[in-house]
């Protein structure tokens, strides 16, 4: 039990996927201008990341490793993730139109979200990794992503009214805020 709690705290705070590992920067900067879209994106990431890690973990341990094709990891994982996203989209539209309404627009964006592929690969390298650990790791990282993007978008919403120098508008100021957030998260470094 203890090690699972450690995995969660490490993934959410200490090695936050966005602010200290730099995965998923594109959606972090791209869809964070409104709080509501960030919540939607977080939901979609949680959903896809968990399922993708579950499937790729099983595929790697029970198909690629036994037949000695570990070097096909990257190509296999990205194909699985891309088709998984399509499948999730189709199933969600049939089964739960309400959830599809909320997450639908974010799903196609997730294929190129490097956080999903990144977590699927990182989960293979956990200390005595197991299926349960990999899945907990994926959920925790999705939580870390949600925390970062939700805090970030709340700050950005406030910033819309600020009067900034021309050269700082847009990208630079967003990067600066992300830097300060990352600095704040550095404070968790001694936690685990």
């Amino acid at each position: 039990m203890e090690e699972y709690i450690l995995i969660i705290i490490a993934a959410v705070f200490v090695n936050n996927i966005v602010l200290s590992q730099f995965l998923g920067i594109c959606p972090f900067l791209g869809v964070s201008n409104k709080l509501s879209t960030s919540v939607g994106m977080s939901g979609a990431v949680l959903f896809v990341m968990t399922i993708a890690t579950l499937v790729t973990y099983l595929l790697y341990q029970f198909v690629l490793v036994p037949i000695g094709l570990e070097y096909l990891r990257t190509i296999t994982f990205i194909l699985v993730i891309a088709s998984l996203v399509q499948m999730v989209e189709i199933i969600l539209r049939k089964v739960s139109p309400a959830l599809y309404q909320a997450l639908g627009v974010f799903l196609p964006l997730i294929t190129t979200n490097c956080a999903v592929l990144g977590v699927a690969i990182l989960a293979l390298g956990l200390e005595d990794t197991s299926l349960l650990k990999a899945v907990v790791f994926a959920i925790a990282n999705a939580g870390g992503f949600a925390l970062a993007i939700i805090v970030f978008s709340s700050i950005r919403e406030q910033l819309e009214l600020a009067d900034l120098p021309e050269a700082m508008k847009g990208v630079p100021i967003n990067l600066l805020i992300a830097g300060l957030l990352s600095l704040a998260f550095l404070g968790f470094a001694a936690l685990v």
Binding site: Q21, I78, G118, V171
Partner: protein, 204 residues
Amino acid sequence: MNSMSEKINQKQNFLKGIIKDNPVFVMLLGMCPVLGVTSTAFNGLGMGIATLFVLFMSNIVVSLIKSQIPAKVRIPAFIIIIASFVTIVEMVLEAFLPVLYEQLGIFIPLIVVNCLILGRAEAFASKNNLVSSLVDALGMGIGFTIALVALGATREILGNGSLFDFRFLSEDASTLILFVLPPGAFIALAYLSIVFNKVTAKTS
């Protein structure tokens, strides 16, 4: 006359990736490796060249077989092409440059999802001939590499007092360690893009 205008076009085509449409400073593509591997200039250079190679090769292949790929499955087809070249890079680096392979870590397989590469395949190579696609890939790849090296150099100089491992401050001089830590990546890139904005606003 015709070949003359073609040449000028190719020159513009090449230069746009470096300045006007710089993938990092202007288009904000492929930001994860930009921030993730640039704690030193050497790592930035290594990542830049790896990306340049994948971009170059995949633009060639996409441009050559664009008429064979059905429109509906073009994105998965592009991804497979890109992933094959990434696997090659991964294996070559692991065999010949194990130190760099260690340092770049997870960001090597993640070249697959670098939106710069898929973006150029979709927006350029699938619509243009071989030569233009080659030039486009070179321009974009070099623009990306320049940005990575600039950021890596800034962070290494400020945070470590060295450049390409050449030390110009003594080991125990106090440097701004913040810049080699994660927050420094965001902050250094923010200031570099302010400078880039200022400079390009003045010249245009």
